[in-house]
Subunit: 299 residues, 2 copies
């Protein structure tokens, strides 16, 4: 296993190389995609994908296209989420958001372009495995996990519920809605790296199930930490606006359950994630560290 | 070979069945996707895909998921294209556009959801071919053709150029720009059905090349006919706004070359498409008919 920064460097070194080259007439959309893709960020999802593959003895070079495709999807979701019609954010990772720089129309297309490019990277990587059917099956399982997690039964479902949460219908179970948003909006794309990375490595099903449980815990914890930071952080620390949920009349975990219970739940989820890794002992040190870092993160 | 209406009925019967089921919390995005998907339309692209597969002796049931995925992509592109930040259209196929009915945020997500669902359908269909590696290769080639055609080297590139065409930079070669828009915005998704349908059928390379040439001709002709109709039709006939290009200061084929040359070019392209089919004689009657219909269409 390598360190977080080593995985991250691998991602940074290759990320834009997986973007398709485009014709001069469409150069602006390339610039817009690259702008958001290189605007920083922790690269958490691709790092987790490489680490999961590495943990299970896979070749992380095989996993790299999927890691980058996942970051494309995460980045497109931020671009569309920041649009005036959605969360209307001007600031992301301390920089002007995509639509502020490139205009709304180009931001819509840059998001579309990144999602499509992610699918291109995935299906073109399949096409490089034609001479090795066993490898091809592993890759398709990995690609499937990513694309399903991004869709209307994953991330998009979470975003839909998040928007409807601004004006919930009479009788909506708010706690259930908040749980749904957390499991999907953030959770789905935090589980996909494990499922995909482990499939690339050809890991056994029970290992995949264990890591998916771990991922559910840290994914939910990640979103609760986000909700806490939305109250306690500053725009400077966070690199994005704060207090947005309240401003938009949205309910989040802290509003539904209160700050104390939010902190308790974050702590309990972290412990569950750590417990899930216990059978792997020291070899899972990387994932134990990740769970602890996510609990105490400031941004 | 079946008739246009027979292929179309097959598509209509199965189209929404390929949409992923979604959780109750995200039901609105399903409604929004289904609204635009069932708002009518000629189903030209999926029909062409089934017909190309059928022509080359393939099993059109194998081709059906790809035909529906292609219609998902076409539909998402219309939803995003109609957004206020893009073409700002309130009317599509004679009905209120997606964002008019569901709001802008949901229309963005419905478009995202349809593109993602298309990729889900494609890669999940791959996963059903694990026991037949030869079939899997044909499917991946078909899926690749669709996803590449939809991306930043295909449809999205055309949309980007179309937006920049509203305010071209000093020194832009307008004729070249209009050609680029036509080849990509409409052309790419009219070529993909042939490439994909023929790959599903395992057609030989020279047949694929011949049909791609045919597709380039009818694709360019299709867009020129669109530009002509933008001047000569009525909103009632067309089911969408007319005169939009002029209103938005965009150049199209008619504006660059004049109506006479546009009609001549449409006629010449149709003839080239017919000539390309000549070697296949009567067996290509379906595609000869398509080329003639597209030349004389009124909507």
């Amino acid at each position: 296993m390598r360190t977080y920064d080593e995985y991250r460097s691998l991602v940074e070194a290759k990320l834009t190389s997986f973007l398709p080259q485009v014709a001069e007439e469409a150069a602006t959309v390339y610039d817009a995609m690259k702008y958001s893709l290189t605007a920083g960020g922790k690269r958490l999802r691709p790092v987790l994908l490489l680490a999961a593959c590495d943990f299970a003895g896979g070749d992380i070079n095989e996993a790299l296209p999927y890691a980058c495709a996942l970051e494309f999807i995460h980045t497109y979701s931020l671009i569309h989420d920041d649009l005036p019609a959605m969360d209307d954010d001007d600031l992301r990772r301390g920089k002007p958001t995509n639509h502020v720089v490139f205009g709304e129309a180009m931001a819509v297309l840059a998001g579309d372009g990144l999602l499509n490019s992610a699918c291109e990277v995935i299906t073109q990587t399949y096409a490089k495995c034609f001479d090795d059917p066993e490898r091809l099956v592993r890759h398709i399982r990995a690609g499937n996990a990513i694309i399903l997690a991004a869709g209307v039964n994953g991330m998009i479902a979470g975003q839909v519920a998040d928007i409807e949460n601004e004006a919930p219908e009479e009788g909506t179970d708010i706690a259930q809605m908040v749980d749904f948003i957390e499991a999907n909006k953030t959770g789905a794309l935090l589980m996909a790296p494990f499922t995909a990375g482990l499939h690339i490595a050809g890991a056994p099903d029970d290992m995949i199930r264990t890591f998916e449980f771990y991922a559910r815990c840290i994914g939910k914890g990640f979103q609760i930490a986000d909700d806490i930071l939305d109250f306690t952080s500053t725009p400077e620390e966070l690199g994005k606006s704060i207090g947005k949920d309240k401003e938009q009349g949205k309910c989040n975990y802290v509003m539904v359950y209160g700050m104390d219970r939010a902190r308790q739940e974050l702590s309990a989820l972290t412990q569950q994630a750590l417990d899930a890794m216990a059978p792997y002992g020291d070899s899972a040190a990387f994932f134990i560290d990740i769970a602890r870092r996510l609990e105490t993160r400031k941004a």
